[in-house]
C-alpha cells in the first residue's frame, strides 16, 4: 500500500464501518437500510481503490 494514500483509505473504511453498523441497528425501513448499506459499500470500495492507486 502506498504510504501517502494509506491514511485516506483508512479514513474511508473508518466511515464505511459505522455506516453499515448504524444502518443495521437504526434504520427502520428497507429503503433507509439499503441506502445506508450502499453508502457503506461505496465507502469501502473507494477505500480499496485509493489503497491500490499508483503513486
Amino acid at each position: 500500500m502506498r504510504k501517502d494514500y494509506l491514511p485516506m483509505a483508512l479514513g474511508f473504511w473508518g466511515i464505511a464501518l459505522p455506516l453499515a453498523v448504524f444502518g443495521l441497528v437504526f434504520c427502520r425501513t428497507a429503503a433507509e437500510r439499503l441506502t445506508a448499506f450502499l453508502a457503506a459499500a461505496v465507502f469501502a470500495l473507494v477505500g480499496v481503490l485509493i489503497s491500490r492507486a499508483k503513486r
Binding site: P7, G11, G14
Partner: protein, 593 residues
C-alpha cells in the same frame, strides 16, 4: 431537534478521523512552501479533482439549491449550472497551461506574463485583494451559512458549536498544508455526499415516494403557472433576465470562487499542484462531472420533498426556504441523523480549509516573499505561512459577523468582479493584453459596482431596463446590474489596452516559449521563429464535454423520475459523448511540443 447518543458518537468519530488525517500530513508540509501550498506538485487527477469539488461543495450550497428549487423549480438551477460552459472551457483550453506555467499561485502568473512597475503593482494588489477582502468575504458567508444550519438543527445560537468546528479545522489546516487539505477533502466529499443522498432518500420516502412528489408538483405547477419539475425554463413566458445573463454572460465574465473564467483561486492551485499537464486536465474534467452531475439531484429531491411536506414554503421568505434543507434532518432515524449532521460539517470544513490555505499562499508567495522579506529560508517561509493562515482564519471568522446574509456575500464578490473574466481568458491567448488591461478591468469593475450600489436608480439603469423589457425579457435589478458592470468593464479594459504600450518584447517571448499557447501572438510568434497554433481537438472536446455533462445530468433526473425512455436516451448520449471525449483528449498534445 435533539440528537441521540449514537448521532453524537458518529459526529465525534468523524471529527477524530478528519483531524487525524490532516495531522498525518503535517510533517510532509513542513519541508518547503512548495510542499505546503502545492503538495510538492505530485497530485494525481482523481485527488485534485475531488478536492476541487469538495471545496466548491460548501455548507451553504445545499441550502442555496433548496431555496432556488422552492422558489423557481428545478430550472432555477441554471443560475449556477451555466458555469459548466466556463468550467469545460477551462478543462480543454487552460488547465494544461496552468500546469505548464509552473508558478506557485494564480497571482504569481502576473510575474510570468507581464513586466515592469505595473506588473509589480498588480501582483501586490491582487495578493492583498484576493488574500484578504475576497477570502474574508467568502470565509464569512460560508461560516454564516454554517451558523444558520446549526441554529436550524439545534435551536441554539450555534456560537459554541461553530467555535469548536472552526477551531479544529483551522488547527489541522494550519499544520498540514495542501496535502492534508486534499486528503481530508477526499474523505469530507464522501461524507458530504453520503449525507445528502441519505437525507434525500428519507425525505422522498416521507413525501410519499417519487410518485407522490410528481403528483404534488403537478398540482403546484398548475396553481403557480410554472413547471416545477422542468429542467429548462418555459419558453412560452418572458425569459427571466437573470437566466439570460447566467447563460450568455456570467460564465465568461464573472470571477466567482470555484468558477473563475480560465481557472483561478483554489481550482488553479490544484491544477498547479498536478503531477503533469495531463493530470491537471483530467482532474479538472472530473471536477466538472462531479460538480454538475453527481452533486445536484440529492439536494433537488430533498427540496422537492420539503415542498410536498410544507407547501406553504412557496410563499415563505428566502431564509425560510433555505432552512427547509437542515430541517428535513428531523425526519431521520437516530444514528443516521448524526451522519447527515456530520456531512454538513464536512461540507463546511472542506471549503474553509481550502480558503485559508489559498489566501495564505497569496499573502506569503505574492506579498511577503517578493515585497517584505526576500531570500529567507524555506523553514522561515513555512513558519510565516502557518501564521498567515491563522491570521486569515481569525479575520474571516470576524467577517462573518459583518455580513447580513449568505446571499449578500456572494453577490458582493460577483459584483466586484463582474467583467474581469474576459481579460483573464485572453491574457493567455492574446499578446496585446498587458498589466494595465488587468488593472483597468479590476478598477472599472469595482468602481462600477460601487457606483451602482450608491445610485441604483441612475438613468443608465433605467434606460437599459426599459430596452431589455422592450426586448421581451423579464427584467430584474440583479441582471441589469451585472450586464452594466460587464459592459463598462469590457469597454474600459479594451480602451486601456490599446491606449497603453504592449508589454516588454523579451518578457512576451519568454512567456510564449514557456507556455506555448496558440491564439493571437502574431509579432511574438514571428520573433520566436515558430508559431504554436490552436489545435482543433480542444474545440471538439469542449463541445463533447458539454454534451457529456448535460446528457448525464438530464439522464440522472429522468432516471429518478422514472422516465425510462428519456433516461435511456440521455444516458446513451452521455456515454457516447464521454467515450468520444476520452478519445479526443488522448489525441491532444498536452505538452504543446
Amino acid at each position: 431537534m435533539r440528537l441521540a447518543p449514537a448521532d453524537w458518537l458518529f459526529i465525534v468519530w468523524y471529527f477524530l478521523l478528519s483531524i487525524g488525517l490532516g495531522l498525518y500530513y503535517s510533517k510532509k508540509a513542513g519541508r518547503s512552501t512548495s510542499e505546503y501550498f502545492l503538495g510538492g506538485r505530485s497530485l494525481p487527477w482523481w485527488l485534485l479533482g475531488t478536492s476541487m469539488v469538495a471545496t466548491s461543495f460548501s455548507s451553504d450550497t445545499p441550502l442555496a439549491v433548496t431555496g432556488i428549487v422552492i422558489k423557481d423549480g428545478v430550472s432555477g438551477n441554471w443560475l449556477w449550472w451555466n458555469f459548466m460552459l466556463g468550467g469545460t472551457l477551462t478543462v480543454l483550453f487552460f488547465a494544461h497551461l496552468w500546469r505548464r506555467a509552473g508558478v506557485m499561485t494564480e497571482v504569481e502568473f502576473i510575474d510570468l506574463r507581464y513586466s515592469g512597475r505595473p506588473a509589480r503593482f498588480l501582483r501586490c494588489f491582487k495578493a492583498l485583494y484576493l488574500g484578504l477582502p475576497i477570502s474574508c468575504i467568502t470565509f464569512g458567508w460560508v461560516t454564516l451559512a454554517m451558523v444558520r444550519i446549526i441554529q436550524a438543527i439545534f435551536d441554539t445560537n450555534g456560537v459554541t458549536a461553530m467555535a469548536v468546528c472552526l477551531g479544529l479545522t483551522i488547527f489541522y489546516t494550519t499544520l498540514s498544508g495542501l496535502w492534508g487539505v486534499v486528503a481530508t477533502d477526499m474523505l469530507l466529499f464522501g461524507v458530504a455526499m453520503a449525507g445528502s443522498v441519505i437525507l434525500s432518500v428519507v425525505s422522498v420516502e416521507k413525501a410519499g415516494g417519487i410518485g407522490g412528489i410528481v403528483a404534488a408538483m403537478r398540482g403546484l405547477s398548475a396553481q403557480a403557472g410554472k413547471d416545477y419539475l422542468s429542467v429548462f425554463p418555459s419558453l412560452g413566458r418572458a425569459l427571466p433576465l437573470a437566466f439570460v445573463v447566467a447563460l450568455f454572460v456570467q460564465w465568461w465574465a464573472v470571477y466567482y470562487p470555484g468558477a473563475e473564467p480560465g481557472g483561478g483561486g483554489w481550482s488553479a492551485q490544484r491544477m498547479l499542484a498536478a503531477r503533469d499537464p495531463r493530470h491537471a486536465v483530467l482532474g479538472t474534467l472530473w471536477f466538472n462531472i462531479a460538480h454538475y452531475v453527481v452533486r445536484p439531484w440529492p439536494w433537488i429531491l430533498t427540496a422537492l420533498a420539503a415542498l410536498v411536506l410544507a407547501p406553504g414554503l412557496v410563499h415563505a421568505p428566502p431564509g425560510a426556504m433555505e432552512a427547509a434543507y437542515p430541517k428535513m434532518i428531523a425526519h431521520l432515524p437516530r444514528g443516521i441523523a448524526g451522519i447527515v449532521v456530520a456531512s454538513l460539517f464536512a461540507a463546511f470544513m472542506s471549503t474553509i480549509e481550502s480558503i485559508v490555505n489559498l489566501s495564505g499562499s497569496f499573502l506569503l508567495n505574492d506579498f511577503y516573499k517578493p515585497f517584505i522579506r526576500k531570500g529567507a529560508s524555506e523553514k522561515h517561509y513555512v513558519a510565516v505561512s502557518r501564521v498567515v493562515v491563522l491570521v486569515v482564519s481569525i479575520l474571516g471568522a470576524g467577517f462573518s459577523y459583518l455580513l447580513g446574509s449568505v446571499r449578500m456575500g456572494w453577490q458582493l464578490v460577483m459584483e466586484l468582479s463582474a467583467g474581469i473574466g474576459l481579460v483573464l481568458l485572453l491574457r493567455w491567448y492574446w499578446w496585446r493584453v498587458s498589466a494595465w488591461s488587468e488593472i483597468a478591468a479590476l478598477s472599472a469593475s469595482a468602481g462600477c459596482a460601487v457606483y451602482l450600489h450608491e445610485f441604483p436608480n441612475s438613468p443608465l439603469v433605467g434606460a437599459l431596463s426599459s430596452a431589455l423589457a422592450r426586448a421581451g425579457l423579464g427584467v430584474d435589478a440583479w441582471g441589469v446590474k451585472i450586464l452594466l458592470i460587464v459592459a463598462v468593464t469590457t469597454v474600459a479594459w479594451l480602451a486601456v489596452t490599446f491606449l497603453t504600450p504592449p508589454d516588454d518584447r523579451d518578457k512576451l517571448l519568454a512567456f510564449y516559449q514557456k507556455i506555448r499557447p496558440g491564439g493571437f501572438w502574431g509579432p511574438v510568434a514571428r520573433r520566436n521563429g515558430r508559431s504554436y497554433g490552436l489545435q482543433a481537438y480542444p474545440f471538439l472536446g469542449w463541445g463533447l464535454a458539454l454534451v457529456t455533462i448535460l446528457s448525464l445530468l438530464l439522464g440522472a433526473g429522468k432516471l429518478i423520475f422514472m422516465d425510462w425512455a428519456g433516461a435511456a436516451a440521455c444516458l446513451a448520449a452521455g456515454t457516447a459523448a464521454a467515450f468520444l471525449l476520452w478519445k479526443t483528449i488522448a489525441k491532444i498534445d498536452w505538452e504543446g511540443q
